[in-house]
Symmetry: C2
Subunit: 197 residues, 2 copies
């Protein structure tokens, strides 16, 4: 190999993509050890299996719940996978429990940004535009998009930083789980009750 590749980088890459050991080693070598570039290489080759799996249909899964101490906040969640075998897997159950905790703690309103109503997005955009008057149009555009991203990462579960590991988004954790478990996984729906709210 042209570049020495660290075992840790290979491990990271496998977690992120679900690709095979050899594919990861080769891609990292080709990318000079750069993980992001290696991901692109794997994607082009179609070896990033998490991406491939995300198209597969999910009809099994688990309904799980979490009640915060004191019974003032509760969460109900449905996560789908491809087989009942995986639904009974501890990794899958842990992921569902982590999502319940996330929803209880970070109060998302939607699973993905596709669910955010057009009117809510328009309102956010309007607020953002009003906040950045007097800058060049190109800068305004960029700042507004940044503010919208910030909004999504507040209200959309998959865009939120994972409360247990804030350097990763829920979407990244999900991709890692798909790679590790080897089945497509989808977060179907959730409900969060806060007493009296």
């Amino acid at each position: 190999m042209s570049t020495p590749v660290s075992a840790q980088a290979v491990k990271d890459l496998r977690e992120k993509t679900g690709a095979g050991l050899l594919d990861c080693q080769k891609a990292l070598a080709e990318a000079g050890g750069n993980v992001e570039q290696a991901i692109t290489i794997l994607r082009k080759k179609g070896a990033a299996t998490a991406d491939k799996k995300s198209g597969r249909s999910t009809k099994e899964g688990l309904v799980s719940s979490y009640i915060h101490i004191g019974g003032k906040v509760g969460v109900l969640l449905e996560v789908n996978c491809e087989t009942d075998f995986v639904a009974r897997n501890d990794d899958f159950k842990t992921f569902c429990n982590d999502l319940c905790l996330q929803i209880a703690a970070a109060s998302p309103l939607y699973v993905t940004r596709d669910e955010v109503p057009e009117a809510a997005i328009a309102a956010e955009r309007e607020i953002a535009v009003a906040q950045v008057q007097g800058k060049p149009p190109a800068a305004i555009q960029k700042i507004v998009e940044g503010k919208l991203e910030k909004y999504y990462s507040t209200v959309c579960l998959v865009d939120q930083p994972f409360v247990k590991q804030p350097d990763k988004s829920i979407k990244e954790i999900l991709t890692e789980k798909i790679a590790k478990i080897g089945e497509n996984i989808t977060i179907r729906r959730f409900t969060r009750y806060q007493l009296g709210a």
Copy 2:
């Protein structure tokens, strides 16, 4: 007293109304031992406290949940009461757990009939009318009302027979709890997830 009153009848009457021991004894004696009539007497006197309590505001309570074995069905529920003291009471918790089981088992769609959409009621009425052609109008009216009651007792949580004790409706169990616990209790909302449904 004019009529001998059984201890069991007094107990039943107290559970149903929450009225005091002496009031119940007097009302039963006055009603010749007839519990239904005694309830009416107590109501007229304003001694049926469950009725009085049902007007009081409920801001405390519990969010509780139930996941059926296998994780294919789950329920999230909010029940309100007047004080946090009652929310932490075992009787109240048991009632919440029973309601969760009820919702999991009997799949209601609404808490009360007030929540049933007008269109759904109109559709039910239409079906019922179509089923009873060729009878006298007065009979049709009565049969249709009966079928609507049946519909409510299927889709409305409070009108459903309690799965653990089918001779009582959830509404009756609720009234008993209000009488026993001594605070107004309201079933605020619930969500039921069935995997893939």
